[in-house]
Symmetry: C2
Subunit: 463 residues, 2 copies
């Protein structure tokens, strides 16, 4: 080909500076945009041509369209006014790690295809196990281990498949249990893995699983000839950050021969602070655990960590070794090939950005970051409790508070809509059972007390 078409390293350098400037300027100006994109369905698509360009276009044209066509359709997850869903926060060191990983462009499917990509991953997931106070047996130096995947959905699927492979019965007899507050990825993963029986167990007044109801469901299923195979305990549910009783669930799982998985996708990051660890008491009895540094730990999406207490059942479930992947290192058994720890074969060098984050902030810096969000959430909860117009509908142990207008569903839904339509903040309207509620999740990298005060003023004004 005409090799002039390639961007040579010097042009990449120049354009790279421009792009870094573009990102830095974006972060400087992020509060100027409406937090939620106001575009109508189809608006962005209509502004783009129906066919790809046949001929090369100048890079300036791409950057112009990025600003003029794409940016109006962006919803600003990195805004300090972002209180919707859970955070998917980020940081400078994480972005820099992402750039380095993209530049290296290595494939870490096997140890041998880039040893540093595997070994740095092992080191940082072991670091994280210690930082979160996870059982020492889960470290790679013992019989467990962790692996970086894209999302908690992927981790849950892997847990379900591993459990299915070692369960004492055919899949059409196996039963999966979780509370009715469990993340939808459990139901989706169970469907993908072919489970036909998934029980959504009732919760108590605090939205945590009702252990008696779980045990009743198990007894009924066994009486019907079914086989309890998997139970998920969530530490920090999506709707309210409710906390299932891990120890009681895990004890039940042991008694029944079930796999016990803990989904701490959001709240796991908080466990870097020892004062939150009592919320996951009982981990030494569970089989697998997952959390997302890409939610609340300054590491840009995607970066999920999945831990197992024992790596052998995982490897038994996921390993396939065709001739073109055979190599001395793999056959020696001395190395880890992370392709055997999840669904995809190919894998990015995601540990690099997590390593950058851990070193830039240090564990103390991350603890301070988490504690500040929790403090801001508790302060806002106190204001809301003191105000007669709202009520908190659930406990709020972390950075999420869930509120409701005392005038009822319509007033609550209207408040959420007004807040979002203002473009000044983003919150998530939801329902708990049949009751409307409004989720305020504090966890964006640059959200400060000042931002939360602005949010409170808006709520006060719009209620």
């Amino acid at each position: 080909m005409n090799h002039d078409l390639h961007m040579d390293p010097d042009e990449f350098r120049r354009r790279g500076y421009e792009m870094v400037d573009w990102v830095a300027d974006y972060l400087v100006n992020i509060e100027q945009f409406p937090v939620t994109s106001p575009v109508a369905p189809g608006q962005i698509r209509k502004a783009l041509p129906d066919t790809a360009p046949e001929q090369p276009e100048p890079f300036e044209a791409v950057m112009r369209d990025l600003d003029e066509i794409i940016m109006p359709g962006i919803t600003h997850w990195q805004s300090p006014h972002w209180y919707a869903y859970f955070p998917a926060n980020s940081s400078g060191p994480s972005l820099l790690g992402e750039i380095a990983a993209a530049g290296l462009g290595v494939q870490g499917m096997l140890w041998s295809t880039s040893p540093a990509a595997t070994e740095l991953e092992t080191v940082v997931v072991d670091w994280m196990a210690d930082l979160l106070g996870l059982p020492r047996a889960w470290k790679t130096t013992a019989q467990g281990g962790g692996v970086i995947q894209m999302s908690a959905s992927d981790a849950t699927l892997v847990a379900l498949v591993t459990a299915r492979e070692q369960a004492a019965g055919p899949v059409d007899r196996l039963v999966v249990y979780a509370s009715d507050q469990t993340h939808s990825s459990l139901e989706k993963g169970a469907r993908i893995a072919g489970f036909q029986h998934v029980r959504a167990i009732d919760v108590d007044a605090e939205f945590a699983i009702d252990i008696a109801a779980l045990q009743d469901a198990i007894a009924a299923d066994k009486a019907a000839g079914l086989v309890p195979a998997f139970v998920c305990a969530t530490v920090g549910t999506t709707a309210t950050t409710a906390i299932d009783p891990v120890r009681a669930i895990a004890e039940t799982a042991r008694r029944e021969g079930m796999w016990c998985h803990v989904d701490a996708a959001y709240a796991g990051s908080a466990m870097i602070c020892p004062e939150f660890r009592h919320h996951q008491d009982g981990l030494e009895l569970v089989d697998s655990y997952t959390f997302n540094p890409h939610k609340w730990m300054l590491t840009n999406f995607d970066c999920n960590i999945y831990y197992v207490a024992d790596r052998q059942p995982l490897l038994n479930a996921m390993s396939i070794l065709p001739p073109y992947l055979r190599n001395e290192a793999t056959l020696s058994g001395e190395v880890i090939d992370y392709r055997d720890w999840h669904v995809p074969l190919g894998r990015r060098f995601r540990s690099l950005k997590l390593w950058f984050v851990l070193r830039h902030y240090g564990a103390e810096g991350i603890r301070a970051f988490i504690r500040e969000h929790v403090r801001l959430a508790q302060d806002l909860a106190a204001k809301i409790t003191a105000d007669g117009r709202f009520e908190l509908v659930a406990p709020h142990p972390f950075g999420l508070i869930v509120i409701r207008h005392v005038d009822g569903d319509a007033a609550t839904t209207r408040l959420a809509k007004r807040l979002n339509d203002s473009g000044k903040v983003a919150v998530t309207p939801t329902t708990l059972g049949d009751m409307a509620a409004l989720r305020i999740s504090i966890g964006s990298t640059r959200t400060t007390a000042g931002h939360v005060n602005q949010l409170w003023s808006l709520i006060d004004e719009m209620a």
Copy 2:
């Protein structure tokens, strides 16, 4: 927290320039490194501390360790001397798109969570459908559609699950068929999806599936009361880029009521050149198709596209809608929520880098790029054929040639080892049946005729 710990936009700007320089310098100097990392198992891990830092560290220390500890463990997939596996090539515009996407840090799980991330994806996957000459019915504007996922493994899993959900029988009666040359992700995906019967069908002298053997296997399974449910045709197998007869397989699939999936993970990129499309004749009869722009189309990993001829069975298999994901746009049915098109919920803005690549090179630029690699491979194949010491063991329609030393397995394996141990190139030793062979895959972004001449000299010298 101490907000000084965050890297402010100006520091990010400065460090960002440094990191862009680091990547540009890496690309300038990439030929100086041994292509395959020579480190021993455990060497990188031992050089890193056992525990994470408690206190923040200066960024300079991280960059120093990146150079001194990590780089010796890197295998250089972006080297122009990279002939191993398949390419996972990259380009300047792709890296710039990755930086922009990371900087925006949006989550495209739903249309409403960042409309541009969804709509740009729809536009570029539709562009690609036209560029590859795929059936018009597969475009989002008709009844099909495409979605960007991480890898072909993920795409194959989704195809298998969709097929399982609409198959006429319980999973323990369903059968999956593919040639014995099919990528291991088929067997792995089938296992994850709970299939218990996977048939590895014999191939012909050109390593393409033997249609008579496929039909015999189907007849035998039906006679045994099993239900044929899924067949995979590969266009460009991993071992030799063999081409299964898509039309004959798809006709068989239609007759038997099976799902027909086409895995063109590597060769799909070549279809941007019309002269290669006869290799996938029959696509109008198939149900799903996947290819990886991250292999041979200048887009850095990860970027796989999965197409379906009809999106409804896919959505039926994968949709779950909990209250916290409900929103006006989704409920209106006017928008696409790509979370319903794959396993994970969260998703990066991966269409951005593909859009950057398509606009920077134009379709003509990408065609020239593909054609040059194919030309280089054909030239090398001609030299090898002319030389008495080697033989080609398979057809070589694209950029891969598979060779063998006429002295046999030991000489072939020794040659591969010498080439790799030299650090000057990377190739993949493999076996075909019981026969040793050596794969030479030409597809790195900056591989030129000069590089391939150097490879030939090395082979000549080391044989």
